[in-house]
Amino acid sequence: MDEQSRQPQREILDGVGVSPGRVIAPLVHMAPAVSEPPEGEPLTEDPEAATDRLRAAALAVRAELTERAARARSESAAEVLKATALMAGDKALVKNAVKLVTSQQLSPERALWQAATAYADQMRAMGGYMAERAADIEDVRARLVAELRGEDAPGVPQRREPFVLAAEDLAPADTAVLDPDVVLALVTVSGGPQSHTAILARNLGLPAVVAVQGVLDLDAGTPVFVDGAAGTVVTAPGETEAEAVAAWRRTAERLASFDGHGALSDGTPVPLLANVGTGDDARAAAEAGAQGVGLLRTEFCFLGRDAEPTVEEQTAAYAEVFAAFGDRKVVVRTLDAGADKPLPFLTDAEEPNPALGVRGYRTDWTTPGVLARQLEAIAAAREGSGAEVWVMAPMIATVSEAVHFQELAHEAGLPVCGVMVETPAAALTAEQILDRVDFVSLGTNDLTQYTMAADRMLGSLAELNSPWQPAVLRMVECVTRGAAASGTTSGTHKSVGVCGEAAADPALAVVLVGLGVDTLSMSPRSLAAVATVLASVDATEARRLAVLALEATSASEARDAVRAQLPVLAELGL
């Protein structure tokens, strides 16, 4: 390959590290969309050879999709791949394309494109369910044309050798099919610390760097060194980088296990919980030593559905999660639809500004009943389990909303009730909210975007969107002070948890505890690293570092100041 024979210059590209780890592997670009072969593109080969190529391409794409269906990790993904495979090998499609080659002397690429487009248009004209299938046919069309041209099919390239994936950004659909045995690290041009790429990378334990300008200009096949903690990508890696990778492997082993007891060096307990979305997640989290679930995202029951799941279905799904944690705590967040998680039966896709729209708890105003039925299902699942079940509502902005939610929860028979603090409004009224409800949990991803007025999906605002922003940390402090004041009035301790991505950053975890946060909830992959760093400081030191961060003038200054005081981070390559 000529692109590998060139001697690349050593070049360091800076970005924002969002998931630690160091690897060296060749860079592979996310394949771009397949361009339409020009209208009337003429046949330039023997018609028989052209039709043979068409048939071979159909067989190859069908075989590849069938093989991927067999390897798919979920049944629904397998179903989709099987259906697509069937379309790729469709006899009528190939026959129509061959006809266009022989009768109109079109290139096989153009003929295939046209034959598939005819079907897609026909489906779209039928409307409803069939219209949605048009996109599937267009996907098959792109795959077949890419195969004919000898290009990669759009999306994550299929490779047998490990590689570093470079992309503009990754969508949930791309990341669902990532194979972590082959994709060793993720590097994107856009995206912030809370983008899908970042969250996925942490869940899979893959090093990742976002907001890296120029990474797509690097040639495919170039070996690169990726440092997901430092946020750098280095071309033409040498001995220094190889050593850094080896050192990371050694610490990764040390960071692989968590003994299930989060605490500071002076013994102050800091329960470390897990963020989970499904029964499978919950079992994996329990296995990883999580002391409970700090955030059960219930959207998994709802996403991808046209209609609300029944109470029975929901009960079974929640019970599966509760069962994984025996008698430990499981905090259930009620449905958080809207913004980046739209649901056809709940949210209005036409809202001009969905992040500030009807989302989370607010969907109860426009579609009442769904929340009450969900609480009924949670209560039913709790009945049959030994878990300590807490419920909380997302996207609360006023005390009266919190009170209303608590009434619904109590009506359903759920005794422990709290709310998420994601809006500055909830943070500022935390004391008054906690005078009524039992606990709060800080969703730092949304609290950051709302405090900083910075869209969390925008890579260009990554620095503003950092939970290290002193303004965000002051919001956190406002909540812990409110909780302390309310606790004094009521005589009962009011728990403050953090379940956003901030809790998974070991240095920030120290700051959060120093600010008075009681529990931290994160993706299970981060438990060991956070526990190790927390165990290196006592309460006084945590408080001192928290003040250091509060007094900084920017997110990066806060981060640098705190990290400089935590030598354990460098030791562990975090």
């Binding site: 259906a83 069937l86 469709d90 009528a92 489906m123 369910y129």
Partner: protein
């Protein structure tokens, strides 16, 4: 030419999973050219029954009647078997 008329039993019609199951079954008969068309249409309108795209473009809904046709050895048994698939609610489980 042997023909056999059948009523679509699947609630979603002859789409998605039911279409995939039917197309695969029709494709098993490699020696027969089996066609499918909506009842009342010209026999020449018959489309390849083993093509899932053809089945989808047929747009047959629950309760619609379709005509299967084939010629040659074993056509009768094949159509009988395939009609049985159309008359089963394949989306039931």
């Amino acid at each position: 030419m042997t023909e056999r008329t059948a009523t679509v039993a699947s609630r979603v019609g002859l789409h998605a999973r039911p279409a995939a199951i039917f197309a695969e079954a029709a494709g098993e008969y490699e020696n027969l050219e089996i066609t499918i068309r909506a009842e009342g249409e010209d026999a020449e309108e018959g489309m390849d029954a083993s093509s899932v795209l053809s089945l989808m473009s047929l747009g047959a809904s629950h309760g619609d009647r379709v005509v299967l046709a084939a010629e040659g050895h074993g056509a009768e048994e094949a159509l009988e078997h395939l009609a049985g698939i159309i008359e089963t609610d394949l989306d039931a489980d």
